[in-house]
Symmetry: C2
Subunit: 191 residues, 2 copies
C-alpha cells in the first residue's frame, strides 16, 4: 500500500469520451482492437493517431476502408489558458474526414468543438470533451453505440467554421443517419 505522504497529488485529466458506431461492427468486427469502457491515458505532447496501422496508431481500426493513418487528434493550449484543447487533422490522402458539417481533406485541420461528430469511411465517432486540470496528460474513454449517432446539421456558434471550408448539406448525409431534418446533437444510443 502506498503511503499517502509519498504519492503525487492526483489531477483530474481532460477526457475525450468517444462514442463509436459502425453499421457492420458485429459482422466485420472493426472495433476488435479498441478497449471499450476503459480509460486510457495519453501524453499531451504526443499526437493521438487513429487508423489501420497498429504500429503508428494508438487507436487501431480493423477495416480495410480505413487508411493506415486516417486522422490525428492533438492537444494544445490557447494563450493564457491552462485548459487543454484539441485539434483534429485529416492524414488520409484518399478519404474525407467530416467534423460536424465541415469536410476536411488531406492535411486540413480544425479545432475540435466541445462536442463533435467525426465521420470517415462508414465510421461515426461522437467526441465529447470533459475538461480536467492536468496539462501534461489526457485520457480517452471509448463506448460502443449500436445505433448511429444523431446528425449535426447546424454547427454550434462556438465551433470553428473555416470561411473557405466545404460545408456539408443535408443531401450529403449518409442514408444510415437517423434524421434528415436539422436537429441538435443527441447522445448516441448506447449498447
Amino acid at each position: 500500500m502506498h503511503n499517502m505522504d509519498d504519492i503525487e497529488t492526483e489531477e483530474i485529466l481532460t477526457c475525450l469520451r468517444i462514442t463509436a458506431h459502425h453499421p457492420l461492427h458485429e459482422i466485420k468486427n472493426v472495433f476488435k482492437l479498441i478497449n471499450f469502457n476503459k480509460k486510457e491515458k495519453h501524453l499531451a505532447e504526443d499526437a493521438l493517431k487513429i487508423g489501420r496501422d497498429t504500429k503508428s496508431c494508438r487507436i487501431s481500426l480493423y477495416d480495410q476502408r480505413v487508411s493506415r493513418v486516417q486522422f490525428s487528434i492533438r492537444a494544445f493550449r490557447h494563450f493564457n489558458s491552462s485548459q487543454l484543447f484539441f485539434e483534429i487533422q485529416n492524414l488520409s490522402r484518399r478519404g474525407k474526414l467530416i467534423v460536424n458539417n465541415i469536410a476536411l481533406e488531406y492535411l486540413n485541420k480544425v479545432e475540435l468543438p466541445k462536442k463533435a461528430l467525426v465521420r470517415f469511411a462508414e465510421f461515426q465517432f461522437l467526441v465529447e470533451k470533459e475538461d480536467g486540470e492536468s496539462t501534461e496528460n489526457f485520457e480517452t474513454f471509448f463506448e460502443l453505440a449500436r445505433a448511429p449517432c444523431q446528425e449535426v446539421l447546424y454547427v454550434p456558434s462556438m465551433s470553428p467554421v473555416p470561411e473557405t471550408g466545404l460545408l456539408i448539406n443535408a443531401c450529403s448525409i449518409p442514408p444510415y443517419c437517423s434524421s434528415q431534418t436539422p436537429v441538435e446533437m443527441e447522445e448516441c444510443e448506447l449498447k
Copy 2:
C-alpha cells in the same frame, strides 16, 4: 541509370531553410548531430520534432539546456489551398519558445510566418519557407550562422498575432542580439 519513362514526375518540395546560431557552438559542439548544407526529406503527415532526445526527434541538439522534446513543426493545408503551411508548438514544460516576438509556453502554438526567428535556450533558428508543389513531403535545409540572426521587433502584418499572446518587447531581447532598435529581419551572417 534510370529509364526516364519509368521514374515518377519530380515535384518541387516545400523547403524550410533553417539558419541556426548558438553563441557557443564551437566550444560546446551543440550542432554535432545536424547535417548542414544538405536537404532532408520528411513526410508531411509526421511532426518534425526538435530536441535533445535522438530517438523521438528528427532534429537533435546536443545541449543539456534543451528539453528532451523542445518543439515541433507540423505541416497542414488551409482549406481550398494546395500549399503546405506549418505550425510550431512548444513541447517543453520548462522553457519558453519565442517565435518572432511571441512567447509560447508549453503546448501553445502558432502558424509559422513565411520568415520567422525562433529562439529557445541560447539557440536562434531563422526559419524561411520556400513554397513547393508536393503536399506529401517537404524538406529541411540547415545552414550554420556564425553571427547571431538579426532581431525582429515588428511582426509583419501577415504573421499570426494572438490577441492574448505575450508580446516580447525590446527590454527582453538577449544581449547577444546585434541590434536594439526595430529593424526588418535580415539574413543571418553565414559562416
